[in-house]
Symmetry: C2
Subunit: 280 residues, 2 copies
């Protein structure tokens, strides 16, 4: 089995040059962890993809078909990543959407990334990015294909010991990392930035919020300031591939030099990591 | 001669599925008017493309090569459109840019769009969009591939008699149309919105500003309010394909019904149209 990509159900590795995914980033994507042939949190990813299609007025894919195609690519895989892209398809003059758009669905399997084991155990070093996230309530929360802000943010550092960069919006509130969501522990309760104006509403973010609530840990979504972040008892990052990474240090933080603020994994982060392990 | 697309110099109509243009909108584009085998304002388009590549840290294409490829597609064309897309190319894990990126260059020729002749003569009807433009100073001015805001704005209306929709930023200032820049005439002087926080710095916008200055018409870039727009003596739109379209009516304007505000082509707009004709 050497097929690693299906485009509208057919093996291939190229896209029509007229696809609006290329021209305008007119589409959405999902990144799923694959373990022992199973795409983790499949239903949640499909729900988000469906909601995203509705927001962008893209006809959602046939989910039974998508599931069959995902199975074809991943059923024999021990560990891997499945990326699903849905674009509005080809055509239309300029930005105007064609009357009969045929969305393109792309399933792309890749190897499991080799993150250092210490990231989950001891935590990671994180920096604050200069790049900010623009406000856009109609796109906020969606995992859409317009991701230049993340690309520019990731261009800001090259130090391999820094695992992630955090982004603020233009009012200075902390929103998320370039590829993760962020959580704070304050007085034993957890807080994560509200994503009603920008940011991506991660699947693992939702899972962790539910795990916290189930464990009796109070969990709030609201605007978060930089000062709150620095003053937090614990900090951690989430996404579908990494699960939960504690933040150990905030580096290059508003000009303050190494060794930065020290955190290290605290009890709330540890209990959520354990709860997540049990869920899988 | 049936070739209408060159990808890295080769005829073709597909793109590698791994291209970051698809995954992140990680690239730029230019849309050029072709007349009698000549790509209009070629040097200006190349300057903007070069500046955009620098801003996004993409290695700029070899411009002599790009010119040769453009000539190959357009030299025998009486009237047409050439779209040039430059992406960062394939690869890199996640948002991180690969150490040795090989940008992709795409040249795509298409037919000249059939705009009603009246658009330039009598002017067009324009609406105000609900969709707003997010603030992003690092991307402002660039013609990059993250264009979901424009797609969503264009989805707001289906009335073929409305030629364009205007967009505000989140502070309520008027920035541009979905595919045009906008100009106001106030006390015989022209004003166009500053594009330091969002918007695309159009080639025709720059040409018109220079034509105005050369004609002794004072021309300013600054923040523009909705009230100023409504109160303007004349309004017009610009882009590389349409040249200058007078705005005749503002429709669906903040809930005010048809027939809307009437403008019609005024003397300043007419003189700039004439100056542009002479330039070509």
């Amino acid at each position: 089995m050497h097929i690693h990509c299906l485009i509208n159900g057919e093996p291939g590795d190229t896209l029509a040059i007229s696809d609006r995914g290329l021209h305008y980033g007119d589409g959405l994507f999902e990144t799923l962890a694959v373990r022992d042939g199973v795409c983790e949190f499949w239903d949640r990813h499909m729900q988000r993809l469906h909601a995203g299609c509705e927001r962008l007025c893209i006809a959602p894919p046939e989910f039974a078909q998508l599931a069959a195609e995902a199975r074809q690519l991943t059923h024999s895989i021990e560990r891997g990543v499945l990326k699903i892209i849905v674009t509005r398809g080809s055509g239309g003059r300029g930005y105007r959407v064609p009357d009969t758009a045929h969305p393109t669905r792309i399933l792309l399997r890749s190897d499991w990334p080799t993150y250092p084991r210490d990231n989950a155990e001891q935590g990671v070093r994180v920096r604050l990015c200069t790049q900010r996230l623009g406000t856009n309530p109609t796109l906020a929360g969606l995992k859409h294909l317009n991701r230049l802000e993340q690309v520019l943010a990731r261009l800001e550092w090259d130090d391999p010991t820094i695992a992630e960069g955090l982004l603020q919006d233009h009012t200075g509130h902390v929103i998320e990392g370039t590829f993760t969501n962020v959580f704070l522990v304050q007085h034993g309760k957890i807080v994560t930035p509200a994503l009603d104006r920008c940011g991506v509403a991660g699947i693992m973010r939702a899972v962790v919020m539910e795990l916290a609530t189930a464990a009796g840990i109070d969990c709030t979504e609201r605007a978060v300031t930089l000062d709150e972040l620095v003053a937090a008892e614990e900090l951690f990052l989430t996404n579908s591939l990494i699960g939960i990474w504690p933040i150990q240090e905030l580096e290059h933080w508003q000009g303050r030099a190494t060794p930065g603020y020290g955190y290290g994994p605290g009890p709330v982060t540890r209990s959520l990591q354990t709860a997540l392990q049990c869920l899988k």
